[in-house]
């Protein structure tokens, strides 16, 4: 009884056959076996990379160029949106600067029929997938919650309650599989979000149901001010996959080619009945949590600078230039294109949205209840009174 059985995997721990000769026959245990071989579920030993590795040679130049343009536009979108907060045109913006490789790869890797489940920080991923940028930003401008039609873009609403979008992705993927559709759901979540119960439940349902869903954790080092070390003691977040019986992958989140490769493989596995995958992308949030946050309260400039230097855009640019796939002219063209996008966005965001206060009562239910009718009449009367006093119509500018 005093013999130690240390928690490390060691041969002494394997149950040896009972030495039955000199004792009363013991009952035999019913058969038991592991449900899945754990070895293939274990993630990469370090973040998988493509750029600057031999794997780069095999990468499709056209894809890399497309991702480059996406990255440049993505960065520009981030800087533009942040600028809009300073101009009072956005109430708040949680920037994904530094994480653009994850954001644009997540959008680029999906087929048209697939679904994206973004979290509140992922407006860029939504935009990169095709959502009209103004529609994507209404939430943060404050004029409407979800400004786009999720079915038009197959992009679920940006989810603010952390990790709650993950079971939605599992359910949608499961429903699609039931209906026989070749649809995969890709769900985004932050490192902080992995601590929520909903993360756990979604991962488990996905694995048990073998749902065609891929989880991409953008581990950007922080949940607002809380560093990863206070969030998790796991070897890596990708190791969580093992406990659900799904493969975990670890990828360099600043290497857009690597993120694309790993997601592409995971999607393919999901499509062919192989079930879900958990991908952890190691990256960094170089901006503050939002424009309202003061990141100097909780992290050193040095750390930020090291990550700014390992910039996803520069990383790909260097690789493309090194392979002769990109020259100054193309760089300028891509930059100009991004500048155009930003200018259009700026301009469109420059006008105040016209809102109808009576919309408060729209779409609470398919049909308004008597109670809401009554309340709508009250507001209508108030607006009429205001309008009467001001000599204007009830419709009005929101600001």
């Amino acid at each position: 009884m005093k013999k130690s059985s240390t928690p490390v995997r060691d041969p002494a721990r394997k149950t040896p056959p009972a030495d039955a000769a000199d004792r009363a026959p013991a009952p035999a245990p019913p058969p038991w076996q592991v449900a899945t071989d754990p070895a293939p579920l274990l993630p990469d030993e370090r973040p998988f990379r493509v750029l600057g590795t031999p794997a780069e040679a095999a990468a499709d130049p056209a894809l890399l160029l497309r991702l480059y343009a996406d990255l440049v536009r993505g960065r520009r979108f981030n800087t533009q949106a942040t600028a809009l907060t300073r101009q009072g045109r956005l109430a708040v913006y949680p920037s994904s600067a530094g994480q653009e490789a994850c954001e644009v790869a997540a959008a680029a890797v999906l087929a048209d029929r697939d679904w994206l489940f973004p979290s509140y920080r992922d407006s860029l991923a939504a935009v990169a997938r095709g959502v009209d940028p103004v529609e994507a930003l209404t939430l943060l401008r404050g004029d409407r919650h979800t400004g786009y039609d999720p079915y038009r873009y197959r992009v679920a609403p940006l989810s603010t309650p952390l990790a709650t979008q993950l079971p939605h992705a599992v359910g949608l993927a499961h429903a699609a599989r039931i209906k026989g559709d070749d649809v995969v759901a890709l769900a985004l979540v932050g490192d902080g979000g992995t601590s929520e119960g909903d993360f756990h439940e979604a991962m488990n349902f996905a694995a048990v149901w073998r749902a065609p869903v891929v989880f991409l954790v953008q581990n950007n080092g922080f949940a607002i001010s809380v560093p990863l070390a206070k969030q998790s003691a796991a070897p890596t977040l990708a190791h969580k996959a093992v406990g659900y019986g799904m493969p975990g992958r670890l990828v360099d989140g600043n290497d857009v080619a690597a993120v694309h490769t790993v997601l592409d493989e995971a999607l393919r596995r999901a499509r062919t009945g192989g079930g879900p995958t958990l991908v952890e992308a190691v990256t960094y949030r170089v901006d503050a949590h939002t424009n309202a946050d003061d990141a100097t309260r909780y992290r050193d400039d040095e750390e930020v600078e090291a990550w700014r230097a390992y910039d996803p855009v520069r990383l790909l640019e260097a690789a493309l230039r090194g392979r002769g796939l990109l020259d100054d002219g193309e760089v300028a063209r891509v930059a100009a294109d991004a500048e155009d996008m930003a200018a259009r966005l700026r301009e469109r965001m420059n006008t105040d949205p016209v809102l109808d206060p009576m919309d408060l009562f729209a779409q609470v239910y398919a049909e308004r209840t008597d109670q809401l009718e009554e309340q709508a009449r009250l507001l209508r009367a108030e607006l009429d009174a205001e309008a009467g006093a001001a000599g204007t119509s009830g419709r009005e500018d929101a600001r």
Partner: protein, 338 residues
Amino acid sequence: MTTVAQRPGAKPATMAQALQRALRDAMAEDPAVHVMGEDVGTLGGVFRITDGLAAEFGDERCTDTPLAEAGILGTAVGMAMYGLRPVVEMQFDAFAYPSFEQLVSHVAKMRNRTGGAMPMPLTIRIPYGGGIGGVEHHSDSSEAYYMATPGLHVYTPATVEDAYGMLRAAIASDDPVVFLEPKRLYWSKAPWSPDAPAAVEPAGRAVVRRPGSSATLITYGPSLPVCLEAAEAARAEGWDLEVVDLRSLVPFDDETVVRSVRRTGRAVVVHESTGFGGPGGEIAARVSERCFHHLEAPVLRVAGFDIPYPPPMQERHHLPGVDRVLDAVARLQWEAES
């Protein structure tokens, strides 16, 4: 107010049977209807409401989920996003709480936050209330939480026929319905004709279960039988009580309730949920406001006490019974009138 006519050819059936039949008919009619929850498949649910559905429609239409209520409701949201009509079973009232965030922040708001693009045709069945001798956490009356959450419908049947008709209406609804099943009425029996069962139309309306002229008892779900019994007993005291079964807490049928109370001039709200902050506050407040000039006495409330649900051996002291209802009726300032 909707009147529910007794159908011909009715045989005795339990509420549990009617609910099961409603699920089966809904699944047969619409392949989008999926039942899911803990033990709903092979076992047929701990109350056997889903008995036989997995055998008839397969595991994928009636699914034993992992044991995780937020996951159940959260995946149901995703399924609804893809055009299915999930019918979720929560095993007991208190075990729905882990799914509260999904319910409040997504199920209730999804239609609104997407400007109508993404409705949530979900039904969440929750066996609720006490009176069955359950251990702690098995007898909560949680309707106040759901009533306070805009975006949800909240139905609760009190009769066998309604159990069928309202569940069909809930499943047919394009909005999420929290469907509260009074546990202690599962085995209540009534004549019912399962040959031509129909959805309650329109849903969301109250019904006068017993006409009367002296005062109105406003109730729902598990307390309806108590009120009907109290109304019978009240005859001996010379009171002719009207009993209104709300059936739907959201939307609320002001019209039926107000019409009754304006006529009787007195009202008692009866439910087993705790009183303070419970459904009765809302109901009494709206009745008091809308019937102000017709009231001969304050609207009274008879409710469960403001305590955690007690152990089974004590529950009868907690639950509003016939005597407690009659005591309240007696306090309706009858002298004031005469």
